[in-house]
């Protein structure tokens, strides 16, 4: 018992050490880059948070969701509704918590229904969710702003944050960088939470349900409860991601939460390899930084801007198809297998 506890403590400690290292890297990187890159990095952060939630759901629990874009919309619209006035009633952190909680509740309702579905049925139902949610914003145009969406008024950084930022980095904190820090700190907290959960009893249950329903049930695991809890956790991450997105884009509009966003998240998860948080983050990085490179290449190859912009999704789609056909454990998973073949050993199948 005490040994188990101390092992759990060691895992927690190692995650916390990684988190502290992550924070150091984040501060170093955000100090070094300009505002434009900071905005891009914020995009990577929210894609990473949502993809992290999705990878837990799909990779660890075996449920697929094409509706995470819709769940991000819930988080983003909650954020926007709470940040309408110049003097918001909640501090920014409170808004983050509220957006996460609201999405969590919505996710629980969807999760209860989704827990009874599997494979293509679940994919179809969540696909319908992704297509349906933007319509709600249009229908309730008076409160939710219709096609134009809702503007998000991001409050200025408090003085102590400005002072602290100047003390640590020696620079004045610009609004874009403030939001970038917010996004990345949210990501660190979310990832530590997800990593701890997946190494805990809860995470073992999720994997047991994924691998063999009958065996899991015989071992006394409630299938429904395990599935719903995975969906709820994953939805909460999507809600937090929606918050970061809304604060960064300063707008919550239906066009931002199209089917494309949901498919993009799935792409990030598949590219990174199902079930690892590092993979999800790597996928998010690819989705953020690759499009510019590819679009530029397309423009210099003679395509007009709009067509060149479609080259990036084309490449993702092709890689996604190739990954499923050639390397079903994803890019990171395949690299890891190759690493093992070379004679190195690390703990297997755990998200890191």
């Amino acid at each position: 018992m005490t040994r188990a506890l101390s092992r759990a403590g060691a895992v927690l400690r190692s995650h916390l050490v990684l988190a502290v290292l992550g924070v150091v890297v984040i501060v170093a990187v955000l100090t070094a880059v300009g505002d434009f890159r900071a905005v891009q990095l914020t995009q990577m952060a929210y894609l990473g948070i949502a993809a992290g939630g999705l990878t837990v759901l799909t990779g660890l629990n075996g449920q697929i969701s094409l509706g995470h874009g819709a769940l991000m919309a819930v988080g983003a619209y909650t954020t926007a509704l709470l940040l309408q006035d110049d003097e918001p009633m909640l501090p920014l952190l409170g808004v983050l918590v509220a957006a996460t909680l609201v999405t969590l509740v919505v996710g629980a309702a969807i999760g209860v229904a989704a827990a009874r579905l599997h494979g293509p049925y679940l994919a179809g139902a969540t696909l319908a969710l992704a297509v349906a949610v933007p319509g709600i914003a249009l229908y309730f145009g008076d409160t939710l702003g219709g096609e134009q969406g809702l503007r998000v008024r991001v409050p200025d950084a408090p003085d102590w944050v400005l002072d602290l930022a100047f003390f640590v980095t020696g620079q004045d904190l610009t609004p874009s960088k403030y939001v970038a820090y917010l996004g990345w700190f949210t990501l660190v907290v979310a990832y530590v939470g997800l990593a701890n959960l997946s190494r805990s009893r809860v995470g073992r249950r999720w994997r047991a349900v994924r691998d063999d329903e009958v065996a899991a049930e015989v071992a006394g695991i409630g299938l429904g409860r395990a599935r719903v809890s995975a969906f709820v956790v994953s939805a909460a991450a999507a809600g937090a991601a929606g918050f970061v997105m809304a604060v960064s884009v300063r707008l919550a509009a239906p066009s931002g939460f199209s089917l494309t966003l949901s498919l993009t998240l799935l792409t990030a998860v598949v590219l990174g390899g199902l079930g690892t948080l590092t993979g999800a983050l790597a996928g998010a990085a690819l989705l953020t930084f690759l499009p510019d490179v590819i679009t530029d290449a397309g423009v210099s190859a003679g395509l007009d801007d709009i067509r060149a912009a479609e080259l990036a999704p084309l490449l993702y789609g092709l890689v996604m198809v190739a990954v499923i056909l050639l390397a079903p454990s994803g890019l990171v998973g395949s690299l890891r297998t190759a690493w093992h073949r070379l004679g190195h050993t690390t703990s297997k199948g755990e998200p890191s």
Partner: protein, 292 residues
């Protein structure tokens, strides 16, 4: 009253298209246990082929036939090259694969044909027919839609019921092992099934496009409605898919006419969830309970 009649007529016309699309999904599901989410962009791309031909000055019907033929070929190629390796593997692989294909075809069409809205011609009038002195919402093209879907369904019934190939295809879908032992080339039958399904999907795409605007995403919501219609019918039964399509077209038309067109997709989601949770075997299936 007139609005109600028009809503119902519009719903039935749209329902026929959903029925065709659902039928395409069902044909594939029966033989390979895969829901082909890429059906929508596959139909979209064949519609663009028709549009290119028509805009080049050829007749509407040449474009129409070319699109159907392209659908046939595309379905066969997709099955043979991409789907064959994941048949019988974990179902999540096939789902992700068809979604990857969804993204690929989408992006490819946008690169080749451009990402703007283009108008697609209709073969027949798209103004309401006049009965007495009121104009009803049934258009010439609407009648053509209904007839075209009925003809294709009739041909499929003839194929499956009365021909040798149809019998082999049914055997391959029913039990691959046994069919193989009886000398059926199961692989070929699956390819043929995907080809036919893709043809039916292309037909649905052409019928939705007729007299309206097309762009690379115009079929995206139709795959949802087709899926809901197929599930309404039990996902396994071609007849059920047709009835499901009509029911869904009617319900969505009523929602659109009386509640708000923005909530159509939400209504489809609600119908889907109710069916899946209360009657997962579909409205018309008899026999064993099925897990969804």
């Amino acid at each position: 009253m007139q609005q109600f009649v028009n809503t119902v007529l519009g719903g039935l016309t749209l329902g026929m298209v959903y029925a065709a699309f659902a039928l395409a999904l069902v044909l594939i599901w029966r033989s390979t246990r895969i829901v082909n989410f890429a059906q929508a962009p596959m139909a979209m791309v064949t519609t663009f082929i028709a549009l290119q031909i028509i805009e080049a000055g050829h007749s509407y019907w040449l474009g129409f036939a070319a699109a159907l033929l392209a659908g046939l070929v595309l379905g066969a190629v997709v099955e043979r090259v991409l789907i064959r390796p994941v048949e019988g593997k974990a179902e999540i692989n096939a789902v992700i694969l068809t979604l990857g294909l969804f993204i690929v075809i989408h992006a490819l069409a946008a690169v080749i044909f451009g990402n703007r809205y283009r108008s697609f011609p209709a073969a027949f009038g798209i103004r309401g027919i006049e009965v007495g002195d009121t104009t009803i919402a049934l258009t010439g093209f609407g009648i053509f839609t209904i007839v075209a879907v009925l003809v294709v369904m009739g041909l499929l019934v003839l194929l499956f019921r009365f021909t040798d190939v149809g019998l082999r295809m049914r055997a391959a879908a029913f039990n691959q092992e046994v069919a193989r032992l009886l000398g059926v080339r199961v692989g070929r039958m699956l390819t043929l099934g995907w080809a036919l399904a893709s043809l039916v999907g292309s037909l649905a795409g052409l019928l939705i496009a007729g007299g309206s605007l097309v762009h690379p995403g115009y079929m995206d919501s139709v795959v949802v409605y087709g899926f809901v219609a197929a599930v309404l019918g039990g996902l396994d039964s071609p007849g059920g898919a047709v009835v499901g399509g009509l029911l869904l077209g009617l319900s969505l038309s009523l929602v659109s006419g009386y509640v708000g067109s923005q909530l159509v997709a939400l209504a489809a989601l609600a119908i889907l969830m109710v069916v899946l949770l209360l009657r997962p075997q579909g409205l018309f299936a008899q026999g064993r309970e099925r897990r969804v």
